[in-house]
Every structure is written in C-alpha cells, then in structure tokens.
Amino acid sequence: MGSLDSYLPIFVLFVLALAFAGLSIVASKLLAPQRPTSAKEAPYECGIVPANEPPQRFPVRFYLVAMIFVIFDIEVIFLFPWAVVYDQLGRFGLVEVIVFAAAAFFSLLYLVANGALDWGPVRRVRPVSSLQSRTTASTVRRVGTGSGEAA
C-alpha cells in the first residue's frame, strides 16, 4: 500500500457517509407512506399543467463555457506542481509562468472580444401569435370540473 495509507481515513469516512445516506433512504422508504398518483408524479410547474416538453436543445453558450472551462482548468492544474517547486525554480520558473499566463490571458482576450463569454439577453424578433394558444383557460386546471383531472 505505502503512500495510499493516508487515504485510509478518507475511505472509512466514505463508507460512513454512504452508509448514512443509504440507511436514511431505506428508513424513509419503510416509514413514509407511498400513495403515488398521476398528479403527484407529473412534473411540478406550480400548478400549471405542463404544455411543452423539457427543452432538448440548449443555447450553445453553455457548451462554449464548458469548453473554455476545460482550457482554464487545465491551466490551473498545470500551475499546481509549478507552485509546489517554485522556490527551487527561481527566475526560470517565473519567466516560464509569465509565458504560460500570457498565452492563457491573450486567448481570454480573444474570446471576450469575440463575445464568446457574453450572456446578455438574446434579442430576437419573435412572432407573438404562437403564444396566444396558452391562456388561463387552457393551462390552469380547474379542480372538480371533470376533464383533465387526476384519478
């Protein structure tokens, strides 16, 4: 084992945490009532009957942020070993990291100048007519009127 010894307490804590979470879920399963109905199991939208499916596609910015994050996080990961031995590297280490940071910083400048990290509202001209089918008459469930009510 050797160097892995120091992870032993973490492993014990991991087992404890997992046991705690697992046992509480089992206990709740035994103690709690289980009377599911279709209304309870429907997606919760504050009482509005869900009319649209959850979106399958997301604004591309989220993916863009994920990719940019990978670049910067890898930079941070490279910096950790550098920081540990920095006092032995001296001036060489400093110049090295200046070059490295400059590369990262100028790519950030490029991204910012291209608007890759802009999160302003997307202003788009949208036809108003598509929203007219959703009114209180069509989306609010009237309890006791029969149609559309859960069993």
């Binding site: 084992m1 010894d5 120091s6 032993l8 307490p9 973490i10 014990v12 804590l13 991991f14 404890l16 945490a17 997992l18 705690f20 979470a21 697992g22 509480s24 879920i25 206990a27 709740s28 399963k29 103690l31 709690a32 289980q34 599911p36 279709s38 199991e41 429907a42 997606p43 919760y44 939208e45 504050c46 997301f58 942020v65 994920a66 994050f69 910067f72 996080d73 941070v76 990961i77 910096l79 950790f80 920081a83 540990v84 920095y86 280490g93 400093l94 200046i98 990262a104 910083f105 950030l108 400048l109 490029y110 910012v112 100048a113 608007g115 999160w119 302003g120 509202p121 202003r123 001209v125």
Partner: protein, 407 residues
Amino acid sequence: MPDPLFAHGVGLAVIVIVVVKALVAFAALLVATMLMVWFERKVISDMQDRIGPNRAGPYGLLQSLADGTKLFFKEDLLPDRADRFVFRLAPLLAVVPAFLMFAIVPVGGVVTIAHHVVELQVADPPMGILFLLALSSVAVYGTMLAGWSSGSKYPLLGSIRASAQMISYEAALGLAVVTVVLESHSLSTRAIVQSQAHHVWQWNVLRLGIVPFVVFLIASTAEMNRPPFDLAEGESELGGGFNTEYSSLRFALFYLAEFMNTITMSAVAVTLFFGGPDGPGFHFLPWLWPIVWFVGKTVVFCYIQVWIRASLPRMRYDQLMDLGWKRLIPLSLGWLLVVAGVIVSVAWGFALLGAGIVGAALLYQAVRVGRRRRDASLSTAASATAVVRPGPPAPVLRSLDAEKAGS
C-alpha cells in the same frame, strides 16, 4: 511530509485510531450541520426583525432535528418522467462529497496517543487541497444530474445554470488556491497551516495581499450555490431550482449537503488564509486551544456567509458570468504573477504589477470591442425587420433603442 500516523505501517492500533477519527468527524459534521441550519435561520430572523425558530428545544435548537425527522415520514415521490437510476443516485453524489471534503481540514494540533503521533484532522494526504477541488467538482454532478434526471423543465434549467456557474468559478477558485500553494510549497493542508503558524503577519490573508482571499471568498460562495449566487434555485423563476422534484429524505440530503458545504468552505477559508488552528496557546490543556481557535474562526466565517445571504440580492445570470470570467479569473491570474514575482525579487513584483495594469486595460478594451460587435450585429438584424414596418425610419443608435422601435 506524509501523515506520521502511518510512518510505522498499519497496525491494529492505527486502524482503531483511524476509525475513531472518522467516526468523530462524521458525528461532529452532522451535529455542526444541524446547528448551522439553526444558526442561519436564527441570524437571518434577527436581521429581518423576526423571532425565527423557537419551539423545538431551548431557543429552537432542535428545530433542524425536528424537520429532519419529519422528512423521514414524508412520501418520497419519483416523477414518472424521471430517469429512475440517476434520480436516486444524484442525492448521494451531493452528500458523500460534502462529508469527504471536510476530511482534509486540520481542526487542531498534533497529539500523541499510545506512542502514535496523531494529527487532529481526518486525513492528511500529500495532495491535500487538490482533493478538495476534485471533490467540489464531483459535487457539481450531484446538482447537474439531479436536475437532468427529473424530467421536468425548471429543474433542468436550474441544473444547467448551476453547472455552468460552478465550472466558471472553479477556475478562479483554483487560481486563488495556487497562490496559497506558492507561499507554502506544499499541497498538504497541514503544511499550509504550519507555514502560517506563530504570528498573525504570517497568515496568508496578509502575506499574499488581501486579493486571493477575496477571490476565494467570492468564488467559494458561488461554488456552493449560496446567495447571492444561488441561481440554481431561483425560487421566483424556476419554481425551486434543481431540486424541485425531490421530496422527503432525498430533498433532505441535498439540504444537508448544502449546509455541510457552507461549514466546510468556511473551514477551508480559515485553513488557507487565517492560519487554521493557529492562535495563542496556554499551558492548561494545550491540545484544546488550537481546536477552540479553529472552531471560533470557522464560526466567524459561517456568520459572514449568513450575513452575505441576508444582505445581498441575487445576481442576474449575465452579471454572474461576467464577474467570474472577466473579473475574477484575470484578477486572480494577475495577482498570482505578482506574488510569484515578489518571491523572486521586489523589482519583478512591480514589473508584473505594471504588466497586470496593462492587461486590465487590454481586457477593458476587449470587452468594449465585444459589446460593439454584438450591438452591430443586432442593429443590422433590427433594421432588416424594420423594413416591413411602415412609418418614418428611426435612426438606429443602440440596439436597445432599435428593439424598442421594432416592437
């Protein structure tokens, strides 16, 4: 320096010590989390001129216990559109890292029990602080998968927001931690604490300049999804956020994880920047005082977290991302270079400070260029739609005006 407990191999006594350490940490964390929930509710109540929980136990101290017990008896719903396996997995992914993150925090000094040198922290692995960063990344999965597996649109929106937010601030958080490592020459939390011992001027918050600490405080608040960065659970627009579909004990686990993370991040801030258990000791019970100092400092930070929550309104999403990417990341990167320069020589430090100011000017210019390009593309789009509209064409100055004219 490796953990001295394992210097002579793993015997029975060592295993007993390890299990006892883990059990104590586990129990202490659970109790501390319950108290933290009570503390937060009580402090916020005071700040809002309310009384807060005062029924269960003295001063309402047992309120969290009562709430938790109640949740055991509540129906656990599984939405019909949910991905059943992932929906059940997500609370575990949130709560287990929350427990483990505390493992690397040094809560006290070093004691000798039955000829074994025991550090008062659950574990002291060589990679120390990296373990914390790794686990905080795992915790993102808990949030993300919870929303994704619910099969409902508001939790999905909340979780996507949360994951983008958490990864954005992780880079700034990491850069602030690198600055600390630069001064302590080690990733081990014990070594980080020892490098700050003996004097207040040795504390990293002063030694590194106040900037890395401020970046760490903001980034860790955002990383935990605490107000004012709690966009993942914007009640007003997302109906509750990523855990909307969770009920009963699974919800309680998310709640537990959130408050446990608050305590852990306060403890980590104390460890990294405020000397951890460092403080004046006395001859009476010498092992006790470091723990007292550590707990005291951590409570102060917990209070600050509650204070922030009570004072600041929630941010808008674009402001949140701008703060993370365009301010905190460049700032922490620049400050890291300045600290690295000062370690070599003061002249290098000032040179890099100058370079940092030039960099800030460049960044400001880049933001302006980006905004101008966006406005240009928007105004061409607006004028294209304005052609079909009768009436005198208004001069298109800014995109907002153009949009108003177009609608």
